[in-house]
Symmetry: D2
Subunit: 138 residues, 4 copies
């Protein structure tokens, strides 16, 4: 499955170079990840209420071309790796002309509310299946 989220660059997200600050992209990734999970059939909020957290273990981001204030960007998200212990998402940010601005990944560990690692398949088989399906579904 691949989800597509639309975001408009905020004034507060620009810096004095006149472009969207690089620290904003991880936040946009998160917005798109939230919508991906919703698209997969549950909400991030429900997942946390069930007792599952997804803290980041790793982040990469490559910046090819800047976004500017009021630019409308599209973020495509898919699952690039998935195990009972971890998940990796892949993000691609495009501008309105279809130009690739940024590409990134986030790796997350599945944890309980105390941020201790869990085996998702064993402890939350329902959530595991929803994610598994989202990964495989074309």
């Amino acid at each position: 499955m691949k989800s597509r989220s639309k975001i408009v660059a905020r004034y507060a997200e620009t810096d004095q170079m006149g472009i969207v600050h690089h620290s904003v992209y991880p936040i946009w990734f998160e917005v798109a990840r939230t919508e991906f999970i919703r698209h997969a059939g549950m909400t991030y909020t429900e997942m946390e209420q069930a007792g599952v957290m997804l803290p980041l273990a790793g982040l990469t981001c490559r910046y090819f071309y800047p976004a500017k204030y009021e630019d409308e960007v599209i973020i495509e998200v898919s699952i690039s790796k998935f195990t009972p212990a971890r998940i990796e998402f892949l993000y691609e940010v495009y501008n309105e002309e279809g130009r690739l601005l940024t590409q990134g990944t986030t790796v997350h560990g599945w944890t309980n509310l105390e941020l201790h690692p869990i085996n998702l398949k064993k402890h939350f088989p329902n959530i595991y299946e929803v994610v598994k399906h989202a990964q495989e579904d074309e």
Copy 2:
């Protein structure tokens, strides 16, 4: 009591006008408020661990002159009002030349961890006394 906190403007805090974005000042106020409370003899973290929260009920901010990247500013904090239900802080942000950049206030209600209002004097007399002392102390 009046505390003085020093903050250096971050690049990420600037916007495309080339100045520190106006939404940053409430965050700076919070940094300075944290230091004020520490100065008063406890920490905000200890206060929350004791079961007391201080969510905002109101915010005002007047902007006289902008701060720029790498500017070192001084934030002066004092308590302008204090009751068992509420507290108001006053903030003044100065640059290195002593020019007043921004002036603001925040009003907070004393609440428990579920964000329900409490009477601080009744339920947390120790914290009430610490704050009372910080207000009166010159």
Copy 3:
């Protein structure tokens, strides 16, 4: 004229109280203000390219009820005051049940790109008319 903007609360916008941090609302106001101006018939970007800036002179915000992660809020914006030197916007943030969460105002001075005050009516009569119309239009 009154514009209505829809925003979904981001994870990064929450704090350890489990609610949207108070410093986020001025950013949401700005997003809604951007859409208001677009609704009025120009874009903020065009305005800046024409040589007009709108730095903040004042901000007020009252917090009645918190927003949480993934909450969808509606922000209503209107012009509450307008002169050739200044403009004041009024914001009301509602949740999906129509409950008023936050109410705020921002006051801005009309300036040139060097952030010096200008008389908008005199120097940019076209923009003045667009704004005047947006204020009066019901």
Copy 4:
């Protein structure tokens, strides 16, 4: 050369997991990078005023252990790669007990004010020498 910067985690930097949000670390890296350059003998502001920008081309971050509100962290910065076209910084974030919380890198291209790539050695030999010295100096 290796610089060491001290940062105290801000309340606004926490999220509803009760830890510093992952998007904050790139901002902390930037604060530490600013101090590194100052330590090397010039300021980032002077560099930009001379006509040199350092937009990000890449970012990586690995998260080992979370920081919490009011935690005082130390960020160590060094230059891991340096050419006339690019520079890579390495960051390590430690808490007060010396535990490694986060490790990251940022890659930047040297550009002019229009964000076009430049050969730093050729166009700004003085800045090139300052950076070269900072890289080599133990």
